[in-house]
Structure formats: structure tokens, C-alpha cells
């Protein structure tokens, strides 16, 4: 599973504004319509919204509305936001009358969980915390020591409906960090569209585009090099939703063998892919799939992607490029 923390902020900020290259270039070239952009820090990463084709006042109002939704979702699903709903849920094991956002995300998590044969599981959070506490001490637990934390994993033991979300076992916890960025992109894009925005680029850590940029080309996103902090592998057009998962975003070991994505079935970090970028009809699905494919690896990942009508591009830890046939990789290695 993917959990972004403060330490990765700089890294993430360098790359998370993936669309910026294109957007920036677009905003300089195009004179057809004005483009308004606002960046910020949310969900422990850099976020940025760009709207095109509105007058300044409406554009600023739309940006305000977008950020308001981002802030709201932080208070609902942000693991590092003090007092957030998800933190209360994890602390108490139960949350009454959950926000619709939590229910929506859990529903997507259910889909991806069952379609991936359990390779995607939001209940890895206790194991993540356990590993992180060891790593902070410069140590790593043995399998025996990790066993109790591993035993708390099991998405089927999370009950949720409009009344409440509840865990069946004490000590369980969930992370929605592999869904929230994508979900936020969907929500913000929807809110912008409702305000009459026809051209926008939403980067909440994952990406979603509306229409085209001011220069009438495609919105483009840079795909980050998984091993060189400031380098990129190339760019990809964003004509919908795109999400990326990478072992580099938060790693516990310098060789990236122990990192923030965990295989819920084994308790280890998956060893095949270094990074995966997924294009899917919805950003929240793309977000979840990027994590699930990282866990499953290329072969099984391809089957999962097909199930959700998604495409992906990735690089293995050995440095080999892998992509599904439908991924627009003309500007990529």
C-alpha cells in the first residue's frame, strides 16, 4: 500500500506536479485563453490546480472551491491530519455516520481487492506503522516479530455502510492513501465542471484533466525517473485520469527493497516494479490500480488492468520498461 509521509514531501513535490511541464509550457505559448494556476501542499504532497478559459474572478473562485474540497477530504481521509475521520476510525475501531467520501473509497477498495485476489488491501496500515517504527530506530523486525501486525490485515474484516464503518478486530487500521489522491482528483474535477470550467488540470498527487490547455494541445504529465530524483523518463498525454505509484516515494532501505508499498498477502514490499503509471476512466481507480499492479507485477497486473479497462506503463526494479499496448508511450522511453 502507498502511504505518503512528510519525509517524501520534497521528493514528491519535485515530481508530483507531473503535469506542470506541459501546463507551464502551455500557459506560456497559448494566448488564446488565460490560464490560472494555484499550487499547495495537501495529503503530504504537492497539489496544483489549473483552470483555463475563465475570467480571473471566476477562475480564482473555482480554485478556491477546488482547494476547499481538497481541505475537506484531508479532514476526512488524511492519515496525517490531526483529528481526521480516518484517524478517529483507526483509533476507536468504529466510525458512526461516515462521510460519503469514505464509503465511496471503500467501495472502490472492495472492487480492486476482490479483482486482484487480495493484492490490494486497505488494512495494511498496522503493518506499515509497525515497520516504520522499526525503521526509524534503524532496525528491521524479524518475521516472527512482524507476525502480530501482519495478522491484523484483512479487508473482509472491515464492515461499512451508511450507518458506520467498523473493524472486526481490535488493533486494525486502514489507510486510504492509495485512493484519496485519486478520489480527490475526481471530486475536484467534478466540482470544477459543475462551476462551468471546461478546461482544467487537476493534480492532487494523481491527475485528472478536463478539456485541453490554452494552446489546444494535450495536457501532458512528466513520468518521473524512479531512481534519479530530478530526472524524468519522458512525458505522457493526460486526457482523463492518471495515477502513479513508485517505491521511491517512501523507502525504508536505500536499495528500495523495503518501501511503502506492501503486499498484504506476504507482508513484504513487492520486488518486481519500481514504478507504475496507470490510466483509467476514474482517477480513484487509477490510483488503486497503480498500487495493486505494483504488488502483482507485470503479468498478473495486466489482467487486472484489463478488468478495469485501464492501461499502464512501468519500470521494473531491473530497469526494464513494461507497458500495456494501449498506453500512449510515444514520448516515453
Amino acid at each position: 500500500m502507498k502511504t505518503n509521509r512528510r519525509q517524501m514531501l520534497q521528493l514528491a513535490l519535485a515530481g508530483a506536479g507531473l503535469g506542470a511541464a506541459g501546463v507551464w509550457a502551455a500557459s506560456r505559448e497559448g494566448r488564446a485563453a488565460l490560464s490560472f494556476r494555484r499550487a499547495g501542499v495537501a495529503f503530504d504532497t504537492g497539489v496544483a490546480l489549473t483552470v483555463v478559459g475563465l475570467a480571473e474572478r471566476e477562475a480564482e473562485a473555482a480554485l478556491d472551491a477546488g482547494f476547499a474540497e481538497i481541505r475537506r477530504l484531508e479532514r476526512v481521509a488524511g492519515l496525517s491530519t490531526p483529528g481526521s475521520d480516518i484517524r478517529r476510525l483507526n483509533a476507536e475501531g468504529r466510525l458512526e455516520r461516515p462521510d460519503q467520501a469514505l464509503l465511496d473509497m471503500l467501495a472502490v477498495a472492495e472492487d480492486v481487492h476482490s479483482a486482484s485476489g487480495g493484492a490490494f488491501d486497505v488494512t495494511v496500515q498496522p503493518l506499515w506503522i509497525f515497520y516504520d517504527s522499526w525503521a526509524r530506530r534503524g532496525a528491521w523486525p524479524s518475521d516472527d516479530e512482524a507476525a502480530p501486525a501482519r495478522a491484523l490485515i484483512g479487508q473482509s474484516r472491515v464492515r461499512f455502510d451508511a450507518e458506520a464503518i467498523a473493524f472486526e478486530r481490535p488493533g486494525m487500521g486502514i489507510t486510504l492513501n492509495s485512493l484519496t489522491h485519486g478520489y480527490a482528483a475526481d471530486r475536484v474535477a467534478k466540482i470544477l465542471a459543475e462551476r462551468g470550467v471546461k478546461q482544467a488540470f487537476v493534480d492532487t498527487g494523481e491527475m485528472e484533466s478536463l478539456g485541453r490547455p490554452a494552446n489546444d494541445r494535450d495536457w501532458t504529465a512528466a513520468v518521473k525517473h524512479p531512481r534519479q530524483p530530478d530526472a524524468m523518463l519522458g512525458t505522457a498525454p493526460v486526457t482523463g485520469c492518471m495515477a502513479t505509484a513508485g517505491d521511491y516515494a517512501y523507502t525504508w532501505s536505500e536499495d528500495y527493497s523495503r518501501h511503502h508499498i506492501l503486499d498484504p498477502r506476504t507482508g513484504y514490499s513487492p520486488a518486481s516494479l519500481a514504478c507504475v503509471t496507470v490510466i483509467a476512466p476514474k482517477a480513484v481507480v487509477a490510483d488503486a490500480l497503480s498500487t495493486a499492479v505494483s504488488v502483482l507485477g507485470p503479468d498478473e497486473g495486466a489482467k487486472l488492468l484489463k478488468h478495469f479497462d485501464a492501461e499502464a506503463y512501468g519500470v521494473t526494479k531491473a530497469g526494464k520498461v513494461w507497458a500495456t499496448p494501449g498506453f500512449p508511450r510515444q514520448n516515453l522511453a
Binding site: 512528510r6 513535490l13 515530481g15 507551464w24 494555484r38 497539489v47 479532514r75 534503524g138
Partner: protein, 719 residues
Amino acid sequence: MPWNWAGPSGLVAALTRLMALLAALTCGCFFMEGARASSLDREAMNVLFPKPFSVGERDATLPVWPIFQQSYNGDVLVAYAFESIDFEPIPGFSGTPVNLLVAVKPSGELLDVRVLSQHEPVFVDGLGPEPLKDFLKQYTGKSLRQSIKIMPPGTRDPRADNVAAEIDGVAKATASVRIINETIINSALQVARARLGFSKGRDPNRAARAKPDVFEPLTFAQMLDRGYIRHLHLTNAELNKAFAGTVAADVDEEGKADPNGTFADVYIAEVDVPIVGRNLLGEAPWRKLMNQLDGAPAMLVLSSGRWTFMPDSFVPGATPNFIALDQAEAPVAWRDFVWRDSLDLPVPKGLDLARSDVAIMRIAPQAAFDPASPSEFSIRVLREKGQIFPERVTRDFKLGYGLPKNLFDLPPDDSGLGLGSIWESRSRDIAILGIGLIVLAVALARQRALTHSPRAFKWFRLAFLAFTLVFIGWMAQAQLSIVWLFGLIKALKCEGSFVFFLWDPPTLMVTIFGLVALFIWGRGTFCGWLCPFGALQEFAGEVARLLRLRQIGLPQRYERLARVPKFIVLAVILVTALFFSNQAEKVAEVEPFKTSITLIFLRSAPFVLYAVALLIAGMFHYKFFCRYLCPLGATFAALSFVRRWNWIPRRKECGSPCQMCKVKCRYGAIEKSGEIVYSECFQCLDCVAILDNPQLCVPVVLEQKRARRKQKQQLEAAQ
């Protein structure tokens, strides 16, 4: 009986009036706008951070703005910008906190510090805002991971201490720049902790420093006894016990054969502490090490026995894998310093240096390791079972380390305001002023003895006034000012903090002394003895006397009227302070104190001309400013009803018929009736001296004349 007790009912009434006054002031304050709210909105931030910067969406939980810079691969977060007033509103001398715009980079370096608003008297008009701007420029590039020291201008030694960043202070604004420094550092640290993952509670500014001069020759054994060196010893049997029950329980054949044999024998010592390092390494090597360490703490680790922290996989210069140091339950970052010199000290029997590994680990300065607090050293023993895919089992063994506090200069423990250092740095001023105030208190309490010899008294008074002008005013910079009253008003207000008074110890001492004396002698003690500008005027008056300048007097009824303007001035200033607080400093320029005392006349011409004009006026009409215009004097005069004693002795002849003291009083504080107007009395003691002087006090002179005549008559009658 010269000291008339006004009675307890008088005291109650006086206190009630004082309370009513304070209550009125406090109520008035509630009408003031909330000065603490931050002032910048998105547009204002855009102006402050123009292209290539872009101002991000304000943080959800903290009042900070992320500042981005566009680069080829997206928006890069270059800083968090915030208003210091939202985090660390330390009231300055005007009582209003200085508000600064601070931008701190993700690395913990300060990108920029700018003034948003400030009402520090010295920077409003005195020195002007330029020196403050120059002062703040020095913060750019300084890291919060360093401790920042403010040095008196020109005393900075670039080679002195490489760990602390030194910046130049501003002459005549010592206390203000310290308040500003605290504001910057404390607010930026709060943001750094909340947003940059800085460790809590381990502030580099607050870490202890080893005292450089604590040293005595010690043997290895003595250092072990004192805990300067700590020793961890493990036998093979103890180790096997620790691994019992794991897959690696039985892998150690060598150990099983010799259960009592040594497995690990580890010594640690913090070598940057002189008494430890100099003894262990020898004088010259230790000095060389200290030069190279660049002020960072360092631990010497020595291991013999079968276990070593330097196995074949050990990478010189890297963070070691098998030893760790923790403090306050957080790991301390350290690295091998690649220092392999041996010890210069006989070691205990059985410890074979030739067969030991010795290394020095340099602790990163940003780890904020506090050598005066306990830390925990641990070694890790790794066992592997199997050949191709070995199973690994590790066990940690811990060893506490802590040095006694008396080896260190401990940081001031002062609720984080850094006040201790200011009291310490001004200890000389505090001592001299303290002595001066004691001398004054004793002298005034024994006024009759003091005035017994008019000549000696005059010299005492002039000498003390010289002390007041030169030391209290110009050197210690303790001229009280009406601006302090603003501070007091704001402190009484909701945002109240009296802490700012503590920033300037001499001024605080003079204030307290003046207020206590107000209860005893009235306003005169401060106005007549402790006000540097008052003293300056008094000297101007003396010069006038030497030049035999003609004095312009006022008839009594005009004299009474002339006392009124200073209260009007005070009222105007108070109203301004309450309702137009940002204009208050300008109105306070009625006082020439800043020009003449704080800045010693080094100021632009209009201010100097005004101050000089007041002094010249004082040469023709004694203490013109004090008596008719001074708002601070008016404050003291208004409060002088709290005075409890009529301490100036009177005779029944005073006023009728004798007008001697009235004529002699240079302050016009004695009515024709002989009554003393204490609220106008400057406690010059001239009338006290007259009253006790058989050559000057008319009733006494007459009495003596009468007595002599009587004696003569009696003598004549007897003849």
C-alpha cells in the same frame, strides 16, 4: 514630626482610585482592534512573492503559505512563509509585537525575513527602519539547525565558533533586536517542527555546551568510576541466553566451548568533552580532533573480544550498522569520523589495544544531541543460520551513557524566551545600577543627614545626576519613556504579557524603583533623581546659573495654569495609544528622550533642534519641559496621590509670614501658604536643606536673633 501619616482610610481611598484608573484603562483597551490577527491575504502575499515565485494555497491547519517556484519539472516548494505574529507574538517595547514575514525553506534555512509592522521606538524614528532591514538581511541563508547568536556590532569573530551562526546586532537597540531574534527563531522553529519534521523539544539553541576549562588528569579506571567511560561486557553464555529459543540459538560452537569467555567488550566515551577526550587521546591529538570535528559532539567507541562494530562489511565514514545511539527515544544521527589514532592512556589489564577496534563517531550537529542529557548506546549482534538463504536473527544490548551536568554550560532555562542570557549579559549594568539605587534610597531616607552640609549635599546631588545622565541614560539606556506606558496598557489588555518588561533589566529596575518611591516620596524621586533627561536639564540650569542668565519667572496663578499642558499632552498620547495605536510612537516624539538620551543627539536635525530648544528653554525657565510638557512626568504626577507621607518638614511660620522656601523652590512647588505641592515636587531637597540650616531658615534665624537679644538683655540687666 515631619512625616505625617495620612491614615488607613486615605490609603484605601488612594488604592481604590488607582484600581479605578487601571480598570478604566483596561476597558478602554477593549475598543482597540485586535492587533494580533495576521494581516496578509493572498493578494498581499502575491505582492511579497512575485514571479518566479508563486504563492500556494494557505495551509489547512497552520497559518502558513507554501511558496513555490516553477521549474521544468513542476512546482518546487521553496519555502513556507508565515507571519511571526501568528506564532510568537512577543511584545516589543511599545507593547505591540513586532510582526515579521518569515520564509523558511524545507531544508530549515531561512529564505527571507522582512518587517511587516513594528513599533519599536528605536526603529520607528530613532535609528529609523534601515538598520532593522540590514539586521534582518543577515538571516537569509542561516539555518534553524544552527544556533544564532547576536554579537555587538563589530565584535563578530568569523573564526570563533563554527557551529553557531553569528550576526551583528544593532547598537542602541540591543533589547529590540534580541526580541526580534527570538521572534524569528521561535516562530520558524514552530513551523519547522509542524511542517519540516524537526524534532520536538530538542532545540539546538538549548543544547548544553561542554565547559572548555574543566580538566584534571584522570586514569582510565578513574574515568570508568566516574562514568565518563562506560563499559559493556558480554560473555558467550550471556549471548547464548539472549538467542535462546530462536533458530540461531545453537550456531555459536566457539561460544559454547567457552561459556565464560568474553564475547563483546565495548567502551564508549564522549571525547569532545575536554576532561574525557584530553585524557583519553592526549592533549595534542585531542586538539587536532576538536579542530576537525568543527564543534560537533563525538563518541569514541572501542571494542575488543569476538564481537566488533567494525566487521568486514564496515564502511569507513558511513553510519555504522551495528552500533546505535538514541536520545529521548529518537535515534541520533552519527557517522564514522575515520579517526583511527590510538589511545594515549594506559588501559585496564586484559584490554589489548592492538587487538581492539577504535573509532570516533561524529554526531551530526543537526541531530541536536544534548550531551548533558542521558543517551542510550546499543550494540547489535547478528546471527545467521543456513548457507544460501540464511535466516537472520538479531539481538540488541544497551548501555546507558550520561555525563554529569557540571561539565557543561547549560542553556538558560527560561520558558523558551531566552531571557536568562539578557540578564546575564547585562549583569555589569545591573550591578552598577543596583548600587546606585541603593545609595539613592539610603541617602533619601536620611535626608536630614544628607542635607546637613549644603555644600556637600550639592556635590552629592550633582554627582548623582551625572550618574543618572551618563550611566543610566547614555550607557545603560534606561531612560523611562511614555512608550513604556503603552506597553503597560497593552499588557493590561487581553493580549497582556508583562514579559516584555523583563527584556530590559535596567529599565525595569528604574521603573520599579520609581514606582515604589512614588508611594513614599511621590513623583520627585524619579523626576528629580532618575530621569536622565531631567538630569540633563538640571545641568543646563546649572550652566545658565554660571552664565548668570536672567530667569523668566511666572506669577503663581500662571504657574498653576502652566502645570496643566502636560496633562493634556498625556491625554492626547493615551487616546492615541488606545485608539490609533500605530500613530502612538509619533505622538510620543513630544518626549525628547529618544533624541537626547537613547540616541545621544545622533539624529536628524528637526529632532535635535527640538531637544536643544527644550534645553535652552530650560535655561531661562528652570526645567521647563519637566514641569509643563512631560507626559511621563504628568503620569507620575497623576499617580502621586498614592504617596503616603508628607516627608518635607514644615514649621508653623512656613507661608505666613515666611516665604523663604517658596522663593527658593526652583520648581514652583511651594504655595504662598507654605504648602508643598507634592505632585510638582522634584525632591531636590533644597527646602529641606534650608529648613535645617540655622543661617538660611528665616524663622530659625529670627528665633536665634531673638534669643541672642534676650540673652543680651538679660546680660545687660544682670550688669
